[in-house]
């Protein structure tokens, strides 16, 4: 266990909950069961801290999800540091 709830997140739901608590945001954390959004938020993710300049955290789903049938996409969530202006 890291001493960081964002790094400890194992699903998109857990990630959004941790981001909301850490940064006082209001990201959605729950959707109706059986919907595509609920399936996306249930995906397992791995989170890394400071993966590159300007990005505080990067989360990547551990597997693809067929948002479009037969064309799986990999969900990514980035927490970007915008205090220094737009990132290139």
């Amino acid at each position: 266990m890291a001493d960081d709830p964002i790094l400890d997140a194992r699903t998109v739901t857990e990630l959004c909950t941790a981001i909301n608590q850490t940064y006082a945001l209001n990201l959605p954390v729950q959707f109706d069961a059986g919907t595509v959004l609920a399936a996306l938020w249930a995906l397992a993710v791995t989170v890394t801290k400071d993966p590159r300049p300007g990005t505080r955290y990067e989360a990547t789903a551990t597997g693809g999800y067929p948002v479009v049938p037969a064309l799986p996409g990999t969900l990514t969530v980035d927490v970007l540091d915008t205090s220094a202006g737009p990132q290139s």
Binding site: P28, D32, T35, V36, L37, P72, S83, Q87
Partner: protein, 168 residues
């Protein structure tokens, strides 16, 4: 073959409008990365905060050069269960157009996915469009320079397309 990897976004590359903290020091970006005939393409969300009521739309932020796509037609046929004919089965000059598709640079000009909000009976809607400009235009009428094919568009969509405008 053209290596366009330098132009491709890496996984998680920040793009688009995102959910931003009140003090403006932090943003959260949701993205989806796909492989288009083996080339990575990332589309991103414009509005996550209202996902429950409005759904989520992921879109490519702008045209993206993918370089050459040697297996594009077979990739589309296999992935989307369609049957774009091979160049050999088409009449001239369409066969020439299809045959050169493996040797020209394609650009993703449109790629968006709309995930419906909760309670909606709509299905996920998507459109993917790739365009290419021919290095050498192909004459549509043999022996005439009047009409030329200068490019190609290949795409798939499950969205209702607007009917083409008819001449007055």
């Amino acid at each position: 073959m053209t290596d366009a990897s330098a132009n491709l976004p890496m996984a998680g590359t920040p793009t688009g409008t995102v959910t931003t903290a009140a003090d403006g020091t932090l943003s959260v970006l949701f993205g989806l990365q796909f492989l288009i005939d083996g080339k990575p393409v990332t589309i991103s969300s414009a509005d996550i905060a209202n996902a429950a009521t409005k759904g989520i739309e992921f879109a490519i932020p702008g045209p993206l050069d993918l370089g050459t796509l040697a297996n594009l037609i077979s990739w589309i046929n296999t992935t989307f269960s369609v049957n774009i004919p091979s160049g050999d089965s088409l009449p001239s000059p369409l066969n020439e157009v299809v045959n050169v598709l493996t040797n020209i640079d394609f650009t993703v000009t449109e790629f968006h996915i709309k995930i419906p909000p909760k309670g909606s009976s709509d299905t996920v809607q998507y459109t993917l469009a790739l365009t290419a400009t021919l290095a050498s235009p192909i004459n549509l009428i043999p022996g005439s320079e009047a009409l030329k094919i200068t490019g190609a568009l290949v795409g798939v969509s499950n969205e209702a397309q607007p009917a083409p405008a008819l001449p007055a």
